[in-house]
């Protein structure tokens, strides 16, 4: 934080300001509370934010709009859709494709990854946050380095590892793979969150006769709910939207997750964009719902560790 003396110029600025005010002797500039801006600045801020919000929202709305068009070439003439908008595509996707079974698979895999991943990330995060043990720094480094693994280097050897363990084409295999990609960041994030919980709480728990695990489970986890929510969300999203691992490790079509299923649409339906758009919208809805449930924790959860360090 310190680095340089931030306000080394403070001695001369006030005098300058004072002389400036005295010299021009302006009749009292209206004082605004800090954090509020002049009408012009506020209008500008609103303008920028509205523009940014439009840019952020438009592609998603556009996809929804395309999904309403009954014809597969409708995306080229979006103007025509207005006249013939229909929910038929959604019905077709739900009724005539494997969408529901893909959805179920994704739910199993993403749910399993979330529960398993957050649990082991939390224990590890707690261990590195509270305990000093030999191997702590190597562990932290390996968590950081695991983040950097390009999938290209892992995907082939992982394939053989899973094959040897008999986990290829199983839910648990994919859950383990996803856990290994999501857990390092989650453990990192949760460590930051646990750091913000006073150690006195642990000590009180220990004095009252709780084991280290008891302290963790009964005292710290309930207090860390915002951090856990963010970690859970991150894990869920990682698993829900992942393409390359799922398409390599899930071989039989009844085990496809949504992301893989969607890519098979292109050939299967000869690029029926309208159906793909409808499917995409259906995929996006549940995860966006989860996102908005946890979003108010996002700010605290994400930056707890970083802001403190």
């Amino acid at each position: 934080m310190e680095g340089r003396p931030p306000l080394s110029t403070t001695t001369d600025i006030p005098t300058k300001a004072a002389t400036a005010v005295a010299a021009t002797a302006r009749p009292a500039v209206r004082v605004r509370p800090r954090g509020q801006s002049s009408p012009a600045a506020a209008a500008l801020s609103h303008g920028i934010l509205i523009l940014a919000a439009l840019v952020a929202v438009f592609p998603v709305l556009y996809l929804f709009f395309i999904a309403l068009g009954p014809d597969k070439t409708d995306y080229l003439h979006p103007g025509d859709i207005l006249g013939k908008a229909t929910f038929a595509n959604f019905g077709k996707v739900l009724g005539q494709t494997d969408f529901l079974s893909w959805f179920g698979n994704s739910l199993i895999v993403a749910g399993g990854t979330t529960v398993f991943g957050v649990l082991i990330a939390a224990t590890t995060g707690y261990a590195v946050s509270r305990m000093r043990f030999p191997g702590l720094r190597p562990l932290m480094w390996s968590l950081l380095i695991t983040q950097m693994f390009p999938i290209a280097v892992l995907i082939v050897p992982m394939y053989y590892t899973l094959a040897n363990l008999g986990l290829l084409d199983t839910y648990s295999g994919l859950i383990l793979v996803y856990a290994s990609t999501a857990v390092p960041y989650c453990a990192w994030l949760l460590k930051g969150y646990f750091d913000t919980i006073p150690v006195e709480i642990d000590e009180a728990g220990r004095v009252d006769g709780l084991t280290p695990f008891g302290t963790f489970w009964r005292l710290i986890l309930p207090l860390a709910r915002p951090g856990l929510a963010v970690a859970a969300f991150y894990t869920f999203l990682t698993a829900w939207a992942e393409v390359p691992f799922a398409s390599t490790f899930m071989l039989s079509s009844d085990k496809y997750t949504l992301a893989v299923g969607l890519t098979t649409f292109v050939s299967q339906y000869e690029s029926q964009w309208n159906l793909m758009a409808a499917t995409s919208v259906l995929i996006a809805i549940p995860v966006s719902a989860v996102f908005y449930l946890v979003q108010k924790h996002l700010v605290t959860g994400l930056t707890a560790g970083a802001a403190k360090s």
């Binding site: 110029t9 920028i48 840019v55 556009y62 390009p150 280097v153 995929i283 979003q295 360090s309």
Partner: protein
């Protein structure tokens, strides 16, 4: 030595017990594959000579050890400029441009939203939408919008601007990739930096204002130093994630756009997108990628330490 191990175990057994699940999972699914991946880079393995099972017959491995030949071939073999260095330069450019753009826009939006403004919550909910929707869904939407005769070009046409062929022309492809990645990456930066801004004590601003600091000075000497911890983390993560960004380029262009492939997607294409699949070369790219990132992180960490503030 054994005594010390024993002592350390009895003192720290619960710490080890709590870290064990992660260590086991990472060990089995990351460390072991990494070891095997490194071994593969020293061989000439491809999908023709790797052992596999056809029906009841098991065909054993027939690939052989070739030493460091793969690395030599990738780095300075014939045509290595087209195969490696052009992608390397583009990957670096891509990372720098994307991280700068996402960080800059994220910081700008976070600063705007940190003021007392009507409808702050509504803006935040709308602005994080690109993060809330799975990437492959939004990339698909962008693909429709960027297609010839799609939404983007219609809009550009209405404004009498040139309408590049976003998904085919090499330069336009790169611009499109950066655009989409920035669009996807801004919400994370914005939310993290907003958290950082909110953790700066208001007293610092009051003190600065008392001392007559201008808006720019308050930003330069209070806001930026206050954000340093958050910034160093999100920039590191941003660099790692962008450098390894797979989904956006893969789904936006598929396999038919050699110019826009960054090293990760290029390595995947060597290993999975062609026949025969060249596992050894693909893994060599992977190891080179990993080394670049580790070197970067080490220097970055050292540089942060010098400013008295490491990530670890």
């Amino acid at each position: 030595m054994v005594e010390r191990l024993k002592l350390s175990y009895s003192r720290h057994w619960y710490a080890y017990a709590m870290a064990a699940p992660v260590v086991i999972v990472l060990g089995v699914l990351v460390a072991y594959p990494l070891g095997r991946g490194i071994y593969l880079t020293l061989t000439d393995a491809n999908s023709l000579n790797v052992g596999h099972t056809v029906g009841v017959n098991h065909i054993p491995d027939t690939f052989k050890f070739v030493g460091l030949q793969n690395y030599a071939d990738v780095l300075w073999g014939q045509g290595s400029y087209d195969r490696f260095w052009s992608h390397f330069v583009w990957t670096i450019l891509w990372t720098v441009i994307c991280v700068t753009l996402t960080y800059g826009s994220g910081l700008g939006l976070a600063l705007l939203m940190n003021r007392q403004l009507r409808g702050r919550t509504a803006y935040r909910l709308l602005l994080i939408l690109p993060w809330a929707v799975p990437t492959f869904v939004t990339v698909f939407s962008w693909r429709l919008m960027l297609a010839d005769g799609g939404m983007v070009n219609t809009l550009l046409g209405a404004l009498h601007l040139p309408q590049p062929s976003w998904l085919e022309d090499p330069l336009a492809q790169k611009a499109a990739a950066i655009l989409v990645n920035t669009w996807c990456g801004v919400p994370f930066m914005m939310v993290s930096l907003l958290g950082g801004l909110q953790s700066i004590p208001a007293e610092l601003y009051e003190a600065a204002e008392m001392d007559g600091a201008t808006g720019w000075q308050r930003f330069r000497y209070v806001t930026l130093p206050g954000l340093r911890a958050v910034s160093s983390t999100v920039i590191l993560l941003g660099v790692i994630w962008t450098f390894n960004q797979f989904v956006i380029i893969f789904l936006l262009f598929g396999n038919n756009a050699p110019d826009v492939q960054i090293l990760v997607t290029w390595a995947y294409q060597l290993g999975f997108g062609q026949q025969p699949r060249d596992y050894a070369q693909s893994a060599s790219y992977g190891i080179i990628l990993l080394s670049i990132l580790i070197v970067f992180t080490t220097f970055y960490q050292r540089w942060l330490k010098r400013n008295d503030q490491g990530v670890i």
